[in-house]
């Protein structure tokens, strides 16, 4: 899983605001939902970046932005040096008059870029067309990108893909409903791999599966990474799953990245209070460890992304909050005493996980 070489995915100041409208006939915009608000990171060849955070923190919106399925309000996503998602001028003017226009990527260009970035979706029960056979589903990428594989070779490639993900190549004529959840997720992975992308965005790929099946799928993803040199953006809310597969981990809170670092650093030396609280809430299977560990219980609910707090977004629930947190937004950067980036004025390493 070693990461080598240059960045295959560059995300810069990515912003997505959803307009909040009122009125059925005469719609007017009354505000914006700040789903993703200024996220930057690089992903290197063969690397896995885990993204964790609670529900509604913008993880899935981030995945859609990376895939070019949503148009960003600002910022850019570059795949292998090519832009996949730039914000359109008009969108920017509406919410951010200062940002200048970024190139509008569309049509054939976008299609070409998509060959390098593909997606594994969360729910294997809804992400496969029930009226298409497995062969058609896995072969569809070749129909959309006819230059990816010569026509006569497609069926063989589909069968090779099925074998690669551990399915029987003779199953091409079967329908998705004839498979179990784990097998269906393998079909989804085979579809994602068909175009031989460099990056696979996995949006909670195992959340809908049984724990034992989760392990199979995670192992499959790890094996494919070794064999094909894939880079993963692995979005999940299960901390142990993310830890198992990731080289680096990013922690999101309310549309912002609050901490980003190597998996060991994040898990054993978390510096941001939110990360510490998140880790302390993870279930510990060992009863002794459970006794020994510290439990940080946050007060209240996450604030509304339509009206996030000023300064640090976590300050309303943070036990370290001071006046400066309301006035000045902490940037994601290296802080004294830590070896990875965190976005807290009072970042301090504090191990909440019992060592075992």
């Amino acid at each position: 899983m070693a990461a080598t070489g240059d960045a295959v995915l560059e995300v810069r100041d990515l912003v997505k605001y959803f307009p909040l409208t009122e009125g059925a006939i005469f719609r007017r915009q009354v505000g914006v939902i700040k789903a993703v608000d200024g996220i930057s990171f690089d992903l290197r060849r063969g690397e896995t970046l885990g993204i964790v955070g609670e529900s509604g923190c913008g993880k899935s919106t981030l995945a859609k932005l990376l895939m070019g399925l949503e148009r960003p309000t600002g910022g850019s996503v570059r795949v292998c040096g090519r832009e996949i998602a730039g914000a359109r001028g008009a969108d920017l003017k509406r919410v951010r008059p200062t940002v200048r226009e970024i190139a509008d990527v569309k049509g054939a260009d976008l299609k070409r870029v998509r060959r390098n970035i593909q997606m594994v979706m969360q729910d294997p029960y809804t992400s496969l067309n029930p009226r298409m056979t497995v062969g058609d589903i896995v072969g569809e990428p070749y129909e959309i990108h006819p230059d990816a594989a010569p026509k006569g070779d497609r069926r063989r490639r589909v069968q090779a893909l099925l074998e690669l993900v551990g399915l029987n190549p003779d199953d091409v004529n079967r329908y998705p409903h004839q498979f179990s959840g784990g097998q269906r997720q393998r079909i989804g992975i085979a579809r994602g791999l068909a175009l031989q992308p460099q990056i696979l965005v996995c949006d909670e790929p195992v959340s809908a599966l049984d724990v034992s099946i989760q392990a199979q799928v995670i192992n499959l993803l790890a094996r494919l990474q070794r064999e094909l040199g894939l880079a993963y953006v692995f979005i999940a809310h299960d901390l142990s799953v993310v830890r198992h597969i990731s080289d680096r981990v990013g922690v999101m809170y309310l549309g912002k990245m609050v901490e980003l670092g190597r998996d060991a650093e994040i898990y054993s030396q978390p510096a941001h209070p939110y990360t510490q609280a998140l880790l302390s809430a993870a279930p510990v299977p060992d009863p002794d460890g459970r006794e020994r560990r510290e439990r940080i219980v946050l007060q209240g609910d996450p604030p509304s992304p339509a009206d996030p707090p000023s300064g640090c977004r976590f300050r309303t629930r943070c036990w370290k909050a001071q006046d400066i947190c309301a006035q000045q937004e902490p940037l994601l950067q290296l802080r004294p005493g830590t070896w990875h980036e965190s976005a807290c004025h009072f970042a301090q390493v504090h191990d909440v996980m019992p060592s075992f």
């Binding site: 997606m119 067309n129 959309i144 990108h145 004529n173 068909a194 199979q216 198992h244």
Partner: protein, 323 residues
């Protein structure tokens, strides 16, 4: 925290080594030219057909529809009497009970009811089929566009259909048919289609809206699929089922509606023959001679039933989950 999900389970298949990336599919002897199970590539329609052939409901309805279609196309195969030839009717033989000569008896004009029933199939079926094709084509296409595009086209089309829904159907058909002096198969078809397409539109639109927000559509979009591909490969096959069912049921309803309009005197006019017209003609003397009314009515009911059964069977066959 421990690695709760740390994968321990090993799928047997994983033990195999997978050394080749998908770019280098196995070649030649071991796997070349092999297709799954030796079968042809499956598609939704060929699988549906395979499935349909084994359904008794489908076979029964298909046989019935086949016979009625044959009646409509070649009535001469079923009877040597041509009811359009007035000389075959003798007033003296009016209202005879069924006999070896007149299987279904004779009507008020002394015409052979069997021959008239056989010849009536053509007009009734023509109205039903043409109206169904027209409503599915117009309503289905507009529904697909409105549901898929949303926004202004959807709002406009939906308001238009609401206007049509506000028209009482019998009154509407009477109004439309009153414009034309003589009712024919085509004017009846037009009247029924104009009033019925909004229903197909609504069903299609609702099904498309459900289908287009599904994850597999998002997945196709992520692959770079064009709108056209998404519409015809993903959205349409997943929204056709309800339209097909309603269309086949409506086919029967249209045949019945044609009979109703002809019965009211605004539909197909004498000397044309249709089942509705025959029922209308036989009604005043029903107590004296029931057969000129009962036989066309029975044919009408069986035809409608056959189409409804066909619709059911086709719907089930098109849903792989029910196989």
């Amino acid at each position: 925290m421990s690695d709760t999900a740390a994968p321990r389970a090993r799928h047997a298949k994983h033990a195999k080594s997978f050394s080749r990336p998908p770019s280098k599919p196995r070649s030649g002897s071991s796997r070349g030219g092999r297709t799954a199970g030796g079968a042809k590539p499956a598609s939704l329609w060929s699988d549906a057909w395979q499935d349909l052939r084994r359904r008794p409901l489908f076979i029964a309805s298909a046989v019935l529809i086949g016979v009625i279609l044959l009646m409509a196309v070649a009535p001469g195969l079923f009877t040597s009497v041509d009811p359009y030839d007035a000389s075959t009717c003798r007033l003296g033989d009016a209202r005879q009970a069924p006999s070896a000569l007149h299987w279904f008896g004779t009507d008020n004009q002394g015409c052979d009811t069997y021959a008239r029933t056989v010849y009536g199939a053509s007009n009734s079926l023509l109205v039903g089929l043409c109206t169904t094709v027209a409503t599915v084509a117009v309503g289905g296409l507009l529904g697909l566009v409105a549901g898929f595009r949303g926004g202004l086209p959807d709002a406009l089309l939906s308001r238009v259909t609401e206007v049509f829904f506000a028209i009482p159907s019998v009154l509407g058909a009477l109004l439309i048919l009153a414009v034309f002096r003589a009712g024919t198969v085509w004017t009846v078809t037009l009247a029924l289609a104009v009033l019925a397409w909004p229903m197909t539109f609504r069903i299609m639109r609702a099904a498309v809206i459900t289908a287009k927000s599904q994850d597999y559509v998002i997945a196709a979009r992520a692959l770079g699929a064009s709108n056209r591909r998404i519409m015809f490969r993903h959205v349409l096959p997943n929204s056709m089922a309800s339209v097909i069912v309603v269309a086949t049921i409506n086919l029967g309803v249209f045949i019945a509606a044609e009979a109703g309009l002809s019965f009211l005197g605004v539909g197909i006019q004498s000397p044309e023959i249709s089942w509705g017209l025959m029922i209308a003609d036989a009604r005043p003397r029903f107590l004296e001679a029931a057969s000129p009314l009962l036989f066309p009515a029975a044919f009408l009911s069986v035809t409608v039933l056959a189409f409804i059964m066909l619709g059911d069977a086709v719907r089930d066959a098109l849903d792989p989950k029910l196989r």
